[in-house]
Amino acid sequence: MAQEMIEGINPTRMELLKLKQREKLAVKGYSLLKEKRNALIMEFFNILERVKGSRENVEEKLKEAFEDLTASQIFMGDLAVNKSALSVKESVEVEIDSRSIMGVVVPVVGSTTSPERTVVERGYSFVDTSVKLDEAAKKFEESIALIIELGEIEKTIILLASEIESTKRRVNALEHIIIPRLENTVKYIEMRLEEMERENFVRLKMIKKSMEME
């Protein structure tokens, strides 16, 4: 491997001390970041457990819901369905909190005010509606709860993933580039200093010898 070094460094004791400080800091930062990365990845695996199958659940539920919706549109006509939909009371309200995983703020969706209601609570009239409409409404209510959960999980995954990526990059940069470079430079300066000492020593000897000759 080519011995990469930091460019433009004078081999002096002052620089050597400074570099040693920097190396110490880099190593410390490296171990901290490595811990952070490990913690993030552990969180990531936890959340992966939760994501399993939840998108499929949503897709399944929605498929059923749309089937019922289409059926009720066939029975009642588009306009009547739209009219009923307009008179449905609002049911969904969410409590949104956030928590921080190693400095990454992720949303936590709290108790969704139980969206499942009885037929009477929905608010449209029964006179000209089909039973399929009730079914469709029920299924959409159920799927909303699932969708919210899925959204929370996917969002968390996306945020965690980007944080993991940048942490990983930093860890790798420190491990493979910055720390070896600092080490090499320190070594280089130490060698230069020793070399200079030896040169000085030889020079002194020579002077002494030539003085004795006279």
Binding site: A65, A85, E93, E141, I148
Partner: protein
């Protein structure tokens, strides 16, 4: 923090979710309309979860990424519409997980 949910999608999907109890529904036809509605919702700050369809999501991917990549809120959730889940060549979630972990996880 209490907040509500909105939906920006095609007419039928909006009708369905209105039946399910979401009041703020915007039926849109074109991606431009969708963008406009989404922007209003995001700027309004009262809505923190927005549901849209995968078709719309694919058309305005850049716009969505701009608002959702870095911050926790708003969440924009993409769901399949009545024609079923769209066939994407790569599942974006799967792809992301693979990139982060380095190996394929069985989902």
């Amino acid at each position: 923090m209490k907040s509500s949910i909105a939906i920006v999608a095609d007419a039928d999907t909006v009708t369905g979710f209105k039946l399910g109890g979401i009041k703020e529904g915007y039926a849109v036809e074109t991606p431009q309309e969708a963008e406009k509605n989404l922007e209003n919702l995001i700027k309004g700050k009262q809505v923190s979860i927005i549901i849209t369809t995968e078709k719309i999501g694919d058309e305005i991917r850049d716009f969505i990424d701009k608002y959702t990549k870095s911050s926790a809120l708003p969440m924009i959730i993409e769901i399949p519409d009545k024609s079923g889940p769209s066939d994407r060549a790569v599942d974006p979630m799967r792809d992301l997980i693979k990139r982060v972990i380095g190996v394929e996880m069985v989902k």
